[in-house]
C-alpha cells in the first residue's frame, strides 16, 4: 500500500512555514500535528533548533547540506533532499530496526530549521540510546523535563 505520510509531512512543513511567516507564531495544532507525524523525535528536533544546533551550509553552486550538533557535541551532516543521518540512532532505529516513522531527531531538524521554528528539547538522545542498547537494556521512552 502506498504511503502518504511523506506527502503529509511535506505539506505540514509548508503550512508551518507559511503560518510562521505571516504571524511569527506556530499554533498548537500544527505543533501537535508535527508530534503526531514524527513522534517523540519532533520534540528533540525542535530542541536542536532552539539551541541553534542546526547549520545550513551552502556551496557556491547552490547546493545545500545541514550540519547538526548532537548533545555529545558530535557533528552530523544531513542531506537536504534525502532522509539520512550518520548518527547511531538512525543506524539503529531506522536502518536496523526499521522503527520510527521517518527518521531520528537530526533529520526533521533541518526541515524545521528551514521553516524558522522556535524550538526546544532533549539533546543527546542518539548517544543515550546507544549507551542503553550497548548495556543490553531495552530502550525506554524518554520524557523531556
Amino acid at each position: 500500500m502506498r504511503s502518504f505520510l511523506p506527502a503529509v509531512a511535506e505539506q505540514l512543513f509548508r503550512d508551518i512555514q507559511k503560518t510562521h511567516q505571516e504571524t511569527s507564531q506556530i499554533p498548537d495544532d500544527l505543533l501537535i500535528a508535527l508530534k503526531f507525524v514524527f513522534g517523540s523525535c519532533a520534540l528533540q528536533a525542535l530542541d536542536l533548533v532552539d539551541h541553534h544546533s542546526v547549520t545550513c551550509l551552502s556551496s557556491p553552486s547552490g547546493r545545500k547540506a545541514f550540519q547538526v550538533i548532537g548533545g555529545s557535541g558530535r557533528l552530523y551532516t544531513c542531506f537536504a533532499s534525502c532522509h539520512y543521518c550518520p548518527c547511531p540512532a538512525f543506524a539503529y532505529s531506522v536502518l536496523r530496526r526499521n522503527d520510527g516513522l521517518l527518521e531520528t531527531a537530526s533529520v526533521p531538524a533541518p526541515s524545521i530549521e528551514e521553516t524558522r521554528l522556535p524550538g526546544g528539547c532533549c539533546s543527546d538522545q542518539c548517544e543515550k540510546r546507544r549507551a542503553v542498547t550497548d548495556r543490553g537494556d531495552s530502550p525506554r521512552a524518554r520524557h523531556s523535563p
Partner: protein, 242 residues
C-alpha cells in the same frame, strides 16, 4: 529511470510469440532511481546499455562509476556524453559523487544519468577493513552512499530545470549483487539481505534480472532468455499517478 530501462529492453531484446509488449511507467520522481539486482555480468551489460541509450537516444550526459575499467568502447562512445570514472574505494566514490554539483561537472551541461556499477564491491571493501564482514556497517555505508546519490540527483535536477523548465529529472541507476545471489529465482533472491533492504529505501524501483527461462530458451534453440521484473514503491506510486 524506468523509462530508459524500458527503452533498453525494448531495443535490445527480441520479442517472442506471446510475450507482452514492453511498457513502463512514465518518468516521475517515483521512478528516477532504480536498482538492478541479479546476475552481475548481465547487470553490468544492462547498465552500459542504459548509459549508451541515454547518451545516444535520449541525448543526455551520463556519469558512469565502476571499479572495473572498461577495456574498449566503440568510437562513437569514446568521448563527449559518457564520462567513465573508476573510483577504487568507497571513499573515492563518495568524494566523486559529492563533487557532481561543482561547475566542472555541470558545464556545459549537468549529467542527467548517474550510474554506479557493482555497489557490493564498494561496500564489501569498506566492511573488510573492519576486522571482517560487518553487516551493520555495510548497511550504514549503503544508506550513506544511496542518500548521497539521491541528494546529488535532486540537486542536478534543479540545475537541469533551471536551465530548461521542462527537462526530465536526473536519474540514478545502480547494480547490486547480494552474497550468494547466484542462480536463485528473482522473487526469492536476496530476500533477507539487510543491505538490500536499506538500498530499497532509496532506490524506489528494483529491476530484477532472472535467468529462469534459460532452459526453455535452449530447448527452443534461442540464446539465453532472461525474465525482467520491475518492482518497488516507485512502481506503485507511478501507477497511482497515471
Amino acid at each position: 529511470m524506468t523509462d530508459i530501462l524500458t527503452l533498453v529492453f525494448r531495443t535490445f531484446t527480441s520479442q517472442t510469440d506471446g510475450s507482452e509488449e514492453l511498457t513502463g511507467p512514465p518518468t516521475s520522481p517515483a521512478t528516477c532511481s532504480a536498482l538492478l539486482v541479479g546476475d552481475a555480468g548481465l547487470s553490468r551489460s544492462v547498465l552500459l546499455l542504459a548509459a549508451v541509450t541515454a547518451a545516444s537516444e535520449v541525448g543526455v550526459r551520463v556519469v558512469f562509476f565502476t571499479q572495473t575499467r572498461i577495456q574498449s568502447l566503440p568510437p562513437c562512445l569514446q568521448k563527449r556524453k559518457i564520462l567513465f570514472s573508476y573510483p577504487r574505494t568507497m571513499e573515492e566514490l563518495l568524494q566523486q559523487v559529492a563533487r557532481l554539483h561543482e561547475p566542472t561537472n555541470t558545464s556545459p551541461a549537468p549529467p542527467s544519468l548517474i550510474v554506479v556499477d557493482g555497489l557490493e564491491g564498494f561496500l564489501c571493501e569498506r566492511g573488510a577493513g573492519l576486522a571482517g564482514f560487518h553487516p551493520g556497517e555495510q548497511s550504514v555505508q549503503a544508506a550513506h552512499l544511496s542518500a548521497l546519490l539521491c541528494d546529488s540527483a535532486a540537486f542536478l535536477t534543479r540545475v537541469l530545470r533551471s536551465r530548461s523548465p521542462g527537462a526530465d529529472p536526473c536519474r540514478v541507476v545502480a547494480s547490486f549483487q547480494s552474497p550468494g545471489d547466484g542462480g536463485r529465482a528473482g522473487g526469492e533472491a536476496s530476500a533477507a539481505d539487510p543491505t538490500l533492504e536499506v538500498l530499497d529505501r532509496y532506490f524506489r524501483v528494483r529491476c530484477t534480472l532472472d535467468r529462469a527461462g534459460s532452459y526453455e530458451a535452449a530447448a527452443g534453440g534461442l540464446h539465453e532468455v532472461w525474465d525482467i521484473y520491475l518492482s518497488g514503491t516507485g512502481m506503485a506510486d507511478a501507477s497511482d499517478t497515471t
